[in-house]
C-alpha cells in the first residue's frame, strides 16, 4: 500500500506542540524505520487466512439477503 501521508508528514507537523514536547529529538530515519517495521508486522498478519467459519457465515448472510431482495 502506498503511504498516503508521506508527503504530509514532516517535523513541521510538530510546530504547534507544547514547548516541552518540541524539545524531543526528531529523527526522520527512525520514523521511516518504525513505519516500515510496523507495516511489515501488519502485512504479515494480514496475509494470514481469514477464518473459514466467517467466510461461510458471510456467504449464508449474502444468500439470505438475495432471497429477501427477490421476495421484495
Amino acid at each position: 500500500m502506498t503511504d498516503k501521508n508521506s508527503s504530509k508528514r514532516s517535523p513541521a507537523d510538530s510546530k504547534d506542540l507544547p514547548h516541552r514536547e518540541s524539545k524531543a529529538r526528531i529523527n526522520p530515519a527512525f520514523d521511516d524505520w518504525l513505519e516500515k517495521k510496523l507495516h511489515n508486522i501488519f502485512d504479515t498478519v494480514a496475509m494470514e487466512p481469514v477464518p473459514k467459519d466467517l467466510l461461510k457465515l458471510l456467504e449464508k448472510l449474502d444468500e439470505a439477503d438475495e432471497k429477501k431482495n427477490e421476495k421484495a
Binding site: 500500500m1 498516503k4 504547534d16 530515519a29 524505520w33 510496523l38 508486522i41 494480514a46 496475509m47 439477503d65
Partner: protein, 186 residues
Amino acid sequence: MATNEFHDMLLQHLPRLQAYAIMLTRDRALADDLLQETSVRALRAQSQFTMGTNFTAWIYKILRNEYISSLRRKKRQPMPIEDMPAEFLARKGEQENDVLSREVIQAMNKLQQGQREVLILICASGLSYEEAAETLGCSVGTIKSRLWRARARMAAFIMGEDKKSGGGDDGGPMLEPAREAASGNY
C-alpha cells in the same frame, strides 16, 4: 449501493480488518470474535453506508466501536505485553528481525492507548490522517499530535533514551534501529 458490491468491499477488507483486530486486541480469539461481529454489524448496517464515502474508515470505525463495547461487556483488559503471541513477529525464522519486531511491539504496548491506536492505524495499516480521524472520531490535528508523541515515545523506548530518563525499560539488549535503517536491513 448494490448488495453484491457491498459484500465484495467487505470481503476485500477482511484481511486488513483481521490484522487491525489482532493488533488492537493482542488476542487472537478475541480478534476472531471481533472480526465476525464487525462483519455481521456492517452487513446489517449497509444501508447506512453512503456510496462515495470512505468504506475503509467506516468499517474500521465499526470494528473499533465493537472492540470498545466488548471490553465494556466482558470487563477485559488488553493482554499483557509479555504474553504477546509469536504470530505477531514478522519474517519468522529471521532471528534479528524477530527480536526487533518483538521490541517494536513491546514498545508500542507501553504507549498510551490513543497513541498506540494512531500508530496501528497510520503506520501499520496505512490509513490517511483523515481516515484515522474518522475512525477514532477526533480531529486530524489530534491525530498528528498523537502520532508525533507516539513516535517520540517509541524512539525513547527502542533507542534506550527512556532508560536514561528513568522512564521504564525492560533492560533487554537493544539493537540500533537507525543503524539498521541506514543499512537497509528491515
